[in-house]
Amino acid sequence: MNKTFVNRSVAESNSYVKAELRKEKIGAAVRYFILLLCGLVMLYPLFWMFSAAFKPNHEIFSSLSLWPSEFSLDGFINGWNTGTEYTFGRFFLNTLWYVLPKVILTVISSVIVAYGFARFDIPFKKFWFVTLVATILLPTSVLLIPQYLMFREMGMLDSYMPLYLPMAFATQGFFVFMLIQFLRGLPTDMEEAAQIDGCNSYQLLWYIVVPMLKPAIISVALFQFMWSVNDFLGPLIYISSVEKYPIALALKLSIDVTEGTQWNEILAMASIAIVPSIVVFLIAQNYFVEGITSGGVKG
């Protein structure tokens, strides 16, 4: 009697486990299906851009298919040559000429200011910190006109200076804030040990703080890189001669000058234009995630 009871309960529990496993599998399948669907919806425009770059112009708006019926590289070739006297490579370089200084200056100035906030006693520190946070909330467009007038007085219009010079003064509060939060989460023991080992404040920053801040610094650089490459308004306001146009303006340029817009050329160049951001992101991805998560969580 006892034995049959045991046998039955083993059989029952086996079928129960099987049912549970089946349920779990179905659940997982449903979840993945929904995720895939959402992913596709979000990525479709990107795929469309890539595929459209290989289509002849007339096919782009006439079919939803991602696969070109006629495969053509004309978009890339003509797009690269642009309608101006410069090739697209020139606009790439132009972009680099202001993005690189912008990233470098942002990192240097933000790290110094964040270090000051996080580790030193400054008179009215709380007030300054609140002011800093307040500047994050300030819409950038508010500053456009006064800044434009200022740079005009300084004779810097139609140069890259207005685009990156402000970064030398840690003007992007968001980055400073992010670094401060990250620094607050780091124990000060290492810095104290280094102080005893003989570091002054600058050596402390260079030898100890910067290496420990590396993940956060990479995040800052990456954000700034991507935002700057994508920036349209800044160059639009300050850069007037075509030879200095960055990618963002150059893409718009092709829409303006040609009467029947060559969309395949624009999409081909747009596809190329996002390559640097993707490459940089992939390289820095591990640090990037570490930087934003610990910056946020530990603060």
Binding site: P187, D189, M190, E192, A193, A194, Q195, I196, D197, G198, C199, Q203, Y207, I208, P211, M212, K214
Partner: protein, 377 residues
């Protein structure tokens, strides 16, 4: 010469909290001084002021012959070992050890030589090229100690260096640090050390002298043996020693013939002549009587009458070689430690039974209840 002198050292934080109340302390050249106290007694603050990591609000600190009050840490001739090692995570062990020398612009060959020397002393040679995250706790702490040695400081500062290690490792590191101190002293290198801890085993085994602190005051500075045998006050008596000293509030009664005895719930304990003189000189009625567990024995026929008290055995804890026997005298709880063989012979199954105990009064202490001072020293 690397004598350290603290004079009227005070720390008041910006919110008005006075953490250290004008303490005075002299640490002799080559001495190993342990500062001990409960959490929040300002022992670490004191050490950090000595290191220059914390500003001082008053008084002065002298290291060697130099007043260092306002000198930055690097110019004080000190090296410090931190509780959580504080190794530079991005530098190899070799770079960690040599970092101080590199900043001092010592030549590469000399750095190499000194790093290797320290590594050998601490058996770190095979680990020199590892990163701190590849080290175990004990190894990391050895590197931290090595980093201090390489600098050849006048004074070593230790801030609870072993509290992150497990018990076994802690015991072996304790011995290692003590041996290191002796080795340095033998080779005529400066070895004055200030060691902060809350672990009394560390304090008792490592210190030449121990400084007991409480709430920013120094309670007593003395050798481990003296601290144990002759505590100045109630706090030190209770803080040092495990199991704790028995302490009971009681009354000190004068009797006719210039004698004194302690009233213990209808029974009395007489004071030996040696204690009597001192106690009478500072006589007060309300006292706390303290006696360490090992000075309470089972009474026999030779025990003096006025040192024997009847108690009821409550709980017996078997510690292996000995038993902790908890007993009550009326409502007063006390504890004694008795060798296991005696317990097995005489006291088995005696929980709840009455038993006569012999209090060795020459080893007891009488504290003034008001001032908490030991009036029997």
């Amino acid at each position: 010469m690397s004598k350290v002198v603290l004079e009227n050292l005070t720390k008041i934080y910006s919110n008005g909290f006075e953490a250290v109340h004008g303490i005075n302390l002299e640490i002799e050249d080559g001495e190993f001084l342990v500062i001990i106290g409960p959490s929040g007694c300002a022992k670490s603050t004191t050490l950090r002021m000595l290191a220059g990591l914390e500003s001082i609000s008053g008084g002065s600190i002298t290291i060697g012959n130099m007043v260092v009050n306002s000198l930055p840490p690097k110019d004080r001739g000190i090296a410090m070992v931190f509780q959580n090692y504080a190794l530079y995570p991005h530098m190899s062990v070799r770079e960690n050890l040599g970092f101080g020398l590199k900043l001092a612009k010592v030549s590469k060959a000399d750095i190499e030589k000194q790093v290797n020397e320290a590594a050998e002393l601490l058996e770190l040679t095979p680990l020199l090229d590892r990163l701190p995250r590849q080290l175990s706790g004990g190894q990391a702490q050895r590197v931290a100690v090595g980093r201090a040695i390489v600098k050849r400081p006048q004074v070593f500062l230790f801030d609870e260096p072993l509290s992150n290690l497990d018990a076994k490792l802690r015991a072996s590191m304790r011995v290692r640090i003590s041996d290191l101190h002796k080795t340095l002293k033998k080779t005529n290198r400066s070895a004055t050390s200030v060691y902060v801890t809350h672990d009394q085993t560390e304090a008792m085994t490592m210190g030449d002298r121990i400084c007991v602190m409480k709430d920013g005051h120094i309670m007593q500075v003395d050798t481990p043996a003296n601290l144990y045998k002759y505590p100045n006050n109630l706090f030190v008596a209770g803080f040092i020693g495990a199991p704790e000293m028995n302490m009971v509030e009681t009354r000190l009664d004068r009797t006719g013939e210039g004698k004194c005895h302690l009233a213990m719930s209808g029974q009395i304990l007489g004071l030996p002549d040696a204690k009597l003189q001192k106690v009478l000189a500072n006589y007060t009625e309300d006292v706390v009587f303290g006696i360490r567990p090992e000075f309470i024995k089972l009474a026999d026929e030779n025990s003096p009458k006025d040192e024997v008290i009847k108690g009821t055995i409550g709980r017996m804890e078997n510690m292996g070689a000995e038993f902790y026997i908890h007993f009550t005298v009326e409502d007063r709880e006390m504890c004694t430690r008795i060798p296991a063989h005696i317990v097995e012979e005489k006291l088995l199954d005696s929980v709840g039974k009455e038993q006569l105990f012999h209090f060795e009064m020459q080893n007891g202490h009488i504290f003034d209840k008001q001032t908490e001072k030991n009036i029997s020293l």
